[in-house]
């Protein structure tokens, strides 16, 4: 156990996070034990309000756990986790910078000279299929294109860990599929540890090596951990036709359904 924890890219040990006062505050998650190995793609699935994003923010260092520890490659996380890249659900690009500048600035903050940063930003925008849009400002791009810029912005820093908070949530179904395949292709060339939060079980199974299931909040915890034995490389659209996919989906859904109903009835009660 100890050996595995020290090797993990991200390890959460008995983490709890409470918002507001220590006594009487809202406990979003508690008793979270989760570790992600280097190169492993882990999807975190749960009903709304299950604290999926809270866990991710703890791993990013954006939130301090009220109890337990977060370890990144065996080291305690005390400030922002700069060995990770974070892909937000909302638009997080700087609206006053062009696509190119948005990506280049991610390297400049690392101390890379501007001319080199611009060169590499161009390459990355090409890799996400936006060569023709380098000079556009975010408002001139579609939602999917903005996500591609954000992806390039995160990946150009070559982080060892990727944290993704429902990154394709606001996109339409087709664009989500295209983005999912793009992500898998980029990930395949250089396998980073990934924590991918989503409420979409199908997306989780299609992308991940492991699906972690969270219970409904408050004080949500992990109630299931399922290995996804589908072969790689995968195509998001095609993998859904596989019998194994259906088998895994059925197994996880049986547990998830209970939690979704719990979350739903709490929502009605409130």
């Amino acid at each position: 156990m100890d050996q595995a924890t020290s090797l993990a890219a991200v390890a959460l040990n008995d983490v709890a996070i409470t918002f507001g006062p220590k006594v009487g505050g809202y406990t979003a998650v508690s008793g979270i034990d989760l570790s992600v190995r280097p190169g492993e793609f882990v999807a975190i699935v749960g009903p709304t309000g299950s604290g999926k994003s809270t866990i991710l923010n703890a791993a990013a260092g954006l939130l301090k756990p009220s109890a337990g520890q977060v370890k990144i490659f065996g080291n305690d996380l005390t400030s922002l986790n700069l060995r990770s890249g974070y892909l937000f659900q909302q638009d997080a690009l700087m609206p006053w910078k062009t696509a190119l500048d948005n990506v280049a600035v991610a390297l400049e903050s690392k101390g890379v000279a501007r001319s080199e940063a611009l060169q590499r930003a161009k390459e990355w925008l090409g890799r996400v299929g936006l060569s023709a849009f380098v000079d556009r400002y975010p408002h001139m791009l579609s939602g999917g294109q903005r996500k591609r810029v954000a992806l390039a912005q995160v990946l150009i820093r070559d982080p060892e860990i990727l944290l993704m908070d429902e990154p394709f949530g606001p996109l339409d179904a087709q664009t989500r599929q295209i983005m999912g395949n793009l992500l898998l292709n980029l990930w395949a060339t250089d396998r980073k540890a990934v924590m991918f939060v989503t409420h979409d079980l199908e997306e989780a199974i299609a992308l991940a090596d492991r699906v972690v299931l969270m219970s409904a909040g408050p004080a949500a915890g992990i109630i299931g951990d399922f290995a996804v034995s589908l072969p790689r490389p995968r195509d998001i659209a095609e993998v859904r036709m596989e019998p194994t996919f259906h088998h895994i989906h059925k197994e996880i859904w049986a547990s998830l359904r209970v939690e979704v109903q719990k979350a739903y009835s709490q929502g009605e009660g409130a």
Binding site: L62, L82, A92, L93, P95, Y137, H139, R157
Partner: protein, 263 residues
């Protein structure tokens, strides 16, 4: 086509106004023309006066003085507003301590300061610059303060996750965000810089547009007053057009809607 139509309509409104003014003051409708003209002058006289002012070259010096005062008041006021806006937005304690004093200072009617400034800075341009400064400073200050405080938390979190240090955040996130707010108030603050200059001149000076208007008023020269006001209005419109142009070149990244609304 709609652009042309709009221009025609805009000019039409002005012409109708001038025509009404002309008819009411030249023909004996509301009293004897001579009496009415003493109070209201006539559009042709006013235009003629404007022409003489420009042709004789007399007005240029006054315009220049007013322009210099406006520009100085704006630059110094905006500069101070930006520096203090940033400082207060980033240092919670400072903002909290000075909050009542800033509110009190901003609530003060500036006209009462004009004689004091004349006493301190003399009757030259600096007392007018000081008056404009007190107006511009607070507008820019509050906008920068707001702009820095209301940076989108997601954009900020993202920038921090991209490894930016405080200096880089200032340059890439806080500054551009504050700048949008400064520009959104640019028309107001430039306008106030001019108000400060003209009011200052009006209350005590020996040059400038405000002085010209005051001079005409003191001898009941209504034509001179209207001529001064007309020149002032055109001056304001020209400055405003310049500001719009600067604004558009600075805020190219903004969504088209706001640009379309202005043109």
């Amino acid at each position: 086509m709609p652009r042309l139509k709009l221009t025609v309509l805009q000019i039409g409104v002005g012409l109708i106004f001038l025509l009404l003014w002309h008819v009411l003051t030249v023909y004996p409708i509301s009293g004897t023309p001579k009496q009415v003209q003493f109070f209201f002058s006539t559009p042709l006289d006013v235009l003629k006066r404007c022409w003489t002012l420009f042709a004789s070259g007399e007005i240029w010096g006054h315009l220049w003085i007013t322009l210099v005062e406006t520009v100085l008041a704006f630059l110094i006021g905006a500069g101070g507003g930006i520096i203090f806006g940033f400082l207060f937005a980033r240092k919670e304690l400072l903002a909290a301590v000075f909050d009542p004093y800033i509110k009190a200072a901003n609530a003060l009617p500036r006209v009462v300061l004009a004689p004091i400034f004349a006493l301190w800075f003399g009757l030259g341009i600096w007392s007018k610059v000081a008056l404009g400064f007190t107006l511009v400073f607070f507008i820019v200050f509050f906008n920068v303060y707001q702009g820095v405080r209301e940076v989108s938390p997601v954009v900020l979190a993202n920038a921090r996750m991209l490894g930016m240090n405080e200096r880089q955040l200032l340059r890439h996130v806080y500054w551009p965000s504050a700048l949008t707010w400064v520009f959104s108030s640019l028309h107001t603050s430039v306008g106030f810089a001019l108000v400060g200059a003209v009011v200052g001149e009006y209350l005590g000076s020996s040059a400038g547009l405000g002085y010209k208007i005051h001079e005409a008023e003191s001898v009941f020269d209504v034509t001179g007053v209207f001529a001064g006001m007309l020149i002032l209005s055109v001056f304001v419109i020209l400055i405003d057009m310049l500001v719009t142009r600067i604004e558009n070149s600075f805020l190219v990244w903004r969504p088209q809607t706001s640009l379309a609304a202005r043109t």
